[in-house]
């Protein structure tokens, strides 16, 4: 069963003269791309237009579209913050052709009926393909395993209690063992709650100065150590979500060296920001886990470059305006990210020379696709058209009124970004056209 659902298309398009860049397929050159009925039909220096729509790719980069393994679509329950339609439109605008939605909704995606309902809606509404992750425990309460077998049969893309940890080591161990009957990834939100309770920001000098409760790096790495040990013992794969701490990265690398099947993702905000930014007390800088001191950021960038962290995930977490228009201390955790991820990372990592463009493209597409067992978006003849056109020279200001997302709680509001998504083709159709 395919875990992804969404609109598909059979568009006819020719893109002329773009720099076609698919690092995994080994393509890098000024080429024309012809898409016949949603499938890449030709890839060479000059193709016939066949009366297709022609897009001038001069000066643009054409790359595999992105895959985001960590998105909160807030549906069901908080459709005022995001819907399947708005969240996937935001994804398309950000260059994504596939996303995974987290199950911490109201109700929680913990039974097959809720999951089937979401998948049926997504088939009609989703601008790009969506996979729905299901909960590990009923209600994400950490007490009883969900019916993972039935959920997998109904199309669960992964299992996670994201938003909170599986507090009990015994329960986590059982989940790892039982999940052997499905072929779906188990993804964990690593947090030792007794160390993070009352925490708002990274426990460090900035928290001490601002008088805000600290969420220490150890609050994550202690849980990472536990879950890696459990995965090693159970001989099962494990995926670590939104890593934020240097110590977590070191534990991941040690486990990988010991042949534990462990993977990880990192968010644009943890790669671009440090806790210094929090001094403004802008509630759009509050997220869980929090952004940390520069040594942590540097460790995350290095691990992303080396591939030990193989995926970039936005952890796109929409919040209603009134929820964030409160004092920093009262604000909920979470920031949006789908529409700014590439721009933020290009501006803050590629331009300053911290990460090659090819690596960024791989970690936003092939990397997460491989971890979650999804088909890799690729620029090859015969592949479905899942690609993005990017203008790397364009400079723009992030504005609240320009988002496709229903929410605008972005940490980038008012800031300038270099590079802009011009067009996204997802599942053979033009899903976004600037």
């Amino acid at each position: 069963m395919t875990v992804l659902v969404g609109k598909t298309g059979a568009d006819d398009v020719v893109v002329r003269g773009a720099r076609v860049l698919d690092p995994v397929s080994g393509v890098d050159g000024l080429l024309d791309v012809r898409v016949d009925r949603g499938v890449i039909a030709e890839l060479r220096t000059h193709v016939d237009t066949n009366e297709h729509r022609v897009i001038d790719g001069d000066g643009l980069v054409l790359a595999p579209a992105f895959v985001d393994p960590h998105v909160h679509l807030r549906t069901p329950g908080r459709e005022d913050e995001e819907t399947i339609a708005s969240g996937t439109a935001a994804a398309a605008a950000g260059g994504y052709c596939a996303i995974l939605a987290m199950p911490n909704t109201d109700p929680v995606v913990d039974c097959a009926d809720v999951l089937r309902g979401l998948r049926a809606r997504a088939a009609d509404e989703a601008e790009v393909a969506v996979g729905f992750a299901a909960a590990i425990t009923v209600g994400q309460e950490g007490e009883h395993l969900t019916e993972m077998g039935e959920l997998a049969d109904a199309g669960a893309a992964a299992f996670t209690d994201d938003g909170r940890p599986v507090a009990s080591a015994g329960m986590m161990r059982r989940a790892l063992q039982y999940n052997a009957i499905t072929e779906r990834p188990l993804a964990v939100h690593a947090e030792e709650s007794t160390l993070t309770r009352g925490g708002h920001v990274h426990a460090g000098t900035v928290a001490a100065e601002l008088g805000l409760g600290g969420w220490p790096a150890l609050g994550e790495s202690l849980a990472v150590a536990r879950d890696l040990a459990l995965a090693a013992d159970a001989r099962r794969p494990i995926h670590l979500m939104h890593l934020s701490a240097r110590e977590s990265v070191e534990l991941l690398q040690r486990a990988q060296s010991a042949r534990v099947d462990a993977t990880a993702e990192v968010t644009p905000h943890h790669l671009c920001l440090t806790d210094d930014a929090i001094r403004t007390l802008d509630p759009n800088l509050k997220m869980n886990p929090p952004v940390r001191a520069d040594e942590h950021r540097q460790a995350l960038i290095a691990a992303l470059r080396s591939g030990d962290i193989a995926a970039i995930a936005t952890d796109h977490a929409p919040h209603a305006r009134e929820e964030k228009d409160v004092p920093f201390e009262a604000a909920p955790f979470g920031v949006t990210g789908l529409e700014t991820a590439f721009g933020a990372l290009y501006t803050h990592l590629v331009e300053p020379g911290l990460l090659p463009l090819e690596t960024l493209l791989e970690r936003m597409s092939a990397g997460p696709a491989a971890i979650f067992g999804l088909e890799r978006p690729r620029i090859e003849v015969g592949a479905p058209a899942n690609f993005v056109l990017i203008d790397l020279r364009s400079r723009w200001r992030v504005r609240a009124d320009r988002f496709r997302s229903r929410s605008a709680n972005s940490w980038l509001l008012g800031r300038h970004l270099t590079s802009r998504i011009v067009l996204t083709m997802a599942a053979g159709r033009v899903a976004f056209d600037a």
Binding site: T205, A208, E209, L210, L212, T280, L281, V326, E329
Partner: protein, 324 residues
Amino acid sequence: MNELHVIPGELRPPRPRERRHLLSVADLSRDDVERLLSSARSFARSQERDTKKLPTLRGRLVVNLFYESSTRTSSSFEIAAKRLSADVLNVKAVGSSADKGESLKDTALTLSAYGPDVIVVRHPQVGAPHLVARVSDSHVVNAGDGKHQHPTQALLDLYTMSEELGRLEGLHVAIVGDVLHSRVARSLVQALRLVGASVVLVGPPTLVPAGLADASHDIESVGAADVVYVLRMQRERMDEDGHVPSLREYSARWGITPERVRPGQRVMHPGPMNRGVEIDGRVADAGCSLVVDQVRSGLVVRMAVLYDLLTAGPVAVEAAVAVA
């Protein structure tokens, strides 16, 4: 006080005009502090006269928006505004629309509709005055936000030290007690550093966070200080969080008793005091205690802050006082 804006321009929507706020000591320069203390001295002289009211801020409106209980701070802001002839509106969370669940943003917008010149905000959550500053067109003064900042307290403490000891540069101050939960300590550490004084934080390891200033867990380290600044132990926090095993053990180890005060040292406390817990009653009432001076300083320093925000800045305060 051109440095007073806290939120860098990029992160907030454009505003038609520049407004100055007092949100954090971190936004003040040494010149700002010296100017404010100098204004406070002039206002102190004006308060020695029979007629204490000055016409300086006649026709201006000051709103005191208090979401936490307060005696000293709210009364001194009120008197300060009245002594400068401003109109004053006191709004307390209890008995206001906040009781009915109105958000801070909406309360701030509502009060802003009256066109107040200054909104003084006290709130239990970090960042509350910053939110008010974002949504209203008034000058905002932070009168305490959570465990973050209480800048007028730090200024009145500097004023008290400077009046009593004749200088600030080179002073050595020991801040004793629950630094972790104290906005007073956070503001004062920054303020003392700004004027060239040195600080040591003294208290239990669980209540003295790393990274703020030199720290010691040994009460003996107050011996070298010119000023022993005693923080309030918040009893309610001890029960909830268990940062120290008991108040009894705290008092025995870190309580300021007459035996622990060296002749010549001054003792300060922001109030309200827990006599017998962090400070021995005999110390609180002794000649070395500046607790009442601090309250008196609070009035003139808050007059100086209101005056400074509502006038263009370093205008000679003598002129304003002379009008009276």
